[in-house]
């Protein structure tokens, strides 16, 4: 569906995108992950035809994206990071306007508007002005505005920024529906849990370059620690540096830290390593009341891939 070949874009001496290549098959959902300034939005802008790359090309269904009026742009739906709506117009009028930009009119436009409103659950508010909507409703309408011309490829640039968990779930439900309908989604985000829920594959970029391109499972396999066992000890007497030293040499243990009564143990293979660790604790007189296994977050993945913290990037 989409192929990006060696895209490059600089602003003066600042290199924003430095040779990004990726490929998305029809119906696939890809997460484009990276910190602020990594080049996500610039990449999406070049794919959408808003920015002309310095070099490289964007192919939509094998055809290079051309000038501003290239009809192939009809295959793309862009959901910008900003809420790109007219506050003074009603939801329906906003959709009618954005639909008309893609040559929709009459009954076809009305049908497309009605379907988009229904998908995002705003049919009841169709006649209300956007300025009366909550932030979450605006985000949902922002998504609907990109669907009117029934694009095959949806570019979603952090579409859940600033929304409450309930609205985020609603947007995710909408995106999952679109995914089931066979749409191809390119989803940029900061958040691992969003990518994990939605994406078939993750492309991690930093400083304008792709530093990893794999499934979540595949990315986690690259990490020295794929799971973190949080073990709440019943009694911390006899637990100290010496005990931690001994624990660190147990088979499968990659790290061990103690914070108050919580022992955090990093492992690479949860199913193989966890039983032995728990048994070692019991046999050494350390009983526990609660055990939780946590998967690594984007912060951990990014730290592992770049050696730098995501927040500091």
């Amino acid at each position: 569906m989409l192929e990006v070949k060696d895209l490059r874009k600089s602003y003066g001496t600042t290199v924003a995108v430095d040779g990004i290549s990726l490929r998305i098959r029809k119906g696939e959902t890809i997460g484009l992950l990276g910190p602020n300034g990594a080049g996500k939005t610039t990449t999406v802008s070049m794919i959408a035809g808003l920015l002309r790359p310095d070099s490289g090309e964007v192919l939509i269904e094998g055809r290079a994206l051309g000038a501003d009026t290239d009809p192939i742009k009809r295959k793309i739906g862009l959901v910008p990071q900003d809420i790109a709506l007219f506050d003074e117009l009603s939801a329906r009028d906003n959709l009618a306007f954005f639909g008309a930009l893609y040559q929709l009119e009459g009954a076809k436009l009305e049908r497309a508007s009605a379907e988009a409103l229904e998908l995002v659950g705003l049919t009841e508010r169709a006649k209300d002005k956007v300025k009366t909507f909550s932030g979450g409703m605006k985000r949902r309408l922002n998504l609907a505005a990109a669907l009117l011309h029934d694009p095959d490829l949806l570019l979603l640039d952090e579409p859940t920024v600033g929304v409450d968990p309930q609205s985020r779930n609603a947007i995710f439900d909408n995106l999952e529906t679109l995914k089931k309908r066979g749409k191809t989604l390119l989803y940029t985000t900061h958040y691992m849990e969003e990518a994990e829920r939605l994406c078939d594959r993750l492309v991690v970029i930093d400083h304008g370059k792709v530093i990893a391109d794999d499934t979540l499972h595949g990315l986690c396999r690259l990490l020295p620690v794929t799971n973190l066992l949080s073990i709440e000890l019943q009694n911390t007497s006899g637990v100290g540096p010496l005990m931690l030293e001994k624990l660190r040499i147990v088979d499968g243990v990659r790290s061990a830290e103690l914070t108050e009564s919580i022992l955090k143990v990093g492992v690479h293979d949860l199913s193989a390593d966890a039983p032995g660790i728990l048994q070692w604790l019991v046999s050494n007189g350390h009983t526990y009341s609660h055990v939780v296994s946590e998967r690594p977050d984007l912060e951990t993945v990014f730290l592992s891939l770049t050696g730098r913290s995501l927040r500091d990037s």
Binding site: L78, P80, I83, A84, F98, Q103, E105, A146
Partner: protein, 432 residues
């Protein structure tokens, strides 16, 4: 391509009319302010009641002459003369409640009468005036000069004071050291003639110099307007001027609106659609020009209905000037969008530029009152051409040929602004 173009234009019009502030500023504000300025600057046929200049008169003489001067000044339409004491008059001028105060000193009547015929010391009239009203002071002084001349001469040739002073002057001629013997004889002959004139029979006293020395001519005034019988209508200029001003403000809003669209990501969404750059900018220019035309039509329709402003010249010329000015405004708005970095930064600068254009264009006061060098400068200001064109087609009543220059200048400005806007428009700025 007609569907998106129509949608883009309709969207702009709907957003404009949905914004109550924009509608008030664009339609109601120019009408209200133009009505006010039109009334102040002449109204219909210049018949507006002008305010009378407040003048205080201090009469320390209380003679027949000083009382006559006071009465004469009070009778003038342009003055509002009241009596006052010296200190009161000076304080009133300082406070600004009186523009001019005139002090006629003690013995003014007799001293002025003596000075009328003989080279004696002239009495002094003190005139206190508000320095912020220098023009009014000159006007009052001119009226006072005429009044004093008329009253004093009338008294000299007719009144009891005049008789006594003529006799006194005759008696004093021989003792006058400054006159040559031959001049003394001529002056005696003159004064004796005046004495005989004053002693003529009452039946003949209503003629000749009995009214005093007056201005020896009459003035016939004619306002040269569109044609004979058509009065000058001050509202024509004020409605043109205020429409130009507020349409330019609307143009500023167009530019700011585009910058806001960029800031809110809307521009990104528009550019994601398969639309040319020409359509995106052109549609905004068309909608701005349509709103501009609507403002002009509404303003002049109101002026016609309420104040009788008519297109006395060429209707085609009037419409041509309106269309050309509307296009210029649209291009001006695009230029603001192209050059402005942020809405806030662009707003202050563009309003300043607009006010300068409006001022130099003669929208507030006609450009002909500017000094010559400034009038030359204003030839490079498009609003000057808009105002000249609207004046020519309305109250001046000129033909289409008089609109060609303004139309050409406005279209040239449109082209310059438009090309600059396209060249400088930052298509990719929001994607960094």
């Amino acid at each position: 391509m007609i569907i998106p173009l129509r949608a883009l234009i309709q969207k702009d019009l709907r957003l404009f009319f949905a914004d109550r502030r924009s509608v008030i500023m664009s339609f109601i504000a120019p009408i209200v302010i133009a009505s006010f300025f039109g009334y102040i600057f002449g109204g219909l046929g210049g018949k507006t009641e002008t305010s009378r200049i407040p003048v205080l008169m201090v009469d320390q003489d209380s003679s027949a002459i000083s009382r006559a001067i006071f009465a004469d000044l009070q009778a003038r339409d342009s003055l509002n003369v009241k009596a006052a004491a010296v200190d009161e008059a000076r304080a009133a001028v300082r406070k600004g409640t009186a523009t001019v105060a005139i002090v006629l000193p003690k013995d003014f009547g007799t001293d002025a009468g003596r000075a009328f015929f003989t080279p004696t010391q002239k009495p002094q009239i003190d005139v206190f005036y508000d320095p912020s009203h220098a023009a009014e002071q000159s006007m009052v002084q001119g009226i006072l000069t005429g009044s004093v001349m008329q009253v004093v001469s009338r008294e000299m040739f007719n009144g009891a004071t005049g008789n006594a002073l003529v006799k006194e002057s005759l008696a004093g001629i021989d003792g006058s050291a400054g006159l040559a013997p031959a001049d003394k004889k001529r002056l005696r002959d003159l004064l004796q003639s005046v004495e005989q004139w004053n002693e003529r029979s009452p039946a003949t006293q209503a003629t000749g110099l009995s009214a005093g020395v007056t201005v020896p001519y009459e003035v016939r005034q004619e306002a040269v307007t569109a044609r004979a019988g058509v009065q000058y209508n001050g509202y024509a200029h004020s409605f043109g001027g205020m429409s130009v001003q507020f349409i330019l403000f609307m143009g500023v809003d167009v530019g700011i609106g585009m910058l806001l669209m960029r800031q809110r990501g809307l521009w990104k969404r528009l550019r994601a659609a398969p639309l040319s750059r020409g359509m995106l900018l052109g549609s905004r220019a068309i909608s701005a020009a349509m709103i501009s035309m609507l403002i002009l039509v509404v303003a002049f329709a109101f002026a016609r209905a309420v104040f009788g402003v008519r297109i006395e010249g060429s209707m085609a010329g009037f419409l041509g000037v309106c269309v050309a000015f509307s296009l210029m405004t649209a291009a001006f708005g695009l230029l603001i969008a192209a050059l402005g970095k942020t809405p806030d930064a662009a707003r202050g600068m563009s309003i300043f530029v607009t006010l300068i254009m409006v001022m130099l264009g003669g929208a507030w006061v006609p450009a002909f009152i500017f000094p010559p060098w400034l009038q030359t400068v204003t030839l490079f200001v498009p609003t000057r051409w808009a105002m000249d064109g609207l004046d020519a087609m309305t109250w001046r009543g000129l033909g289409f040929s008089a609109a060609i220059g303004p139309i050409g200048a406005l279209l040239l400005s449109t082209a310059v602004f438009g090309l600059l806007a396209v060249a400088k428009f930052r298509w990719e700025a929001e994607d960094r």
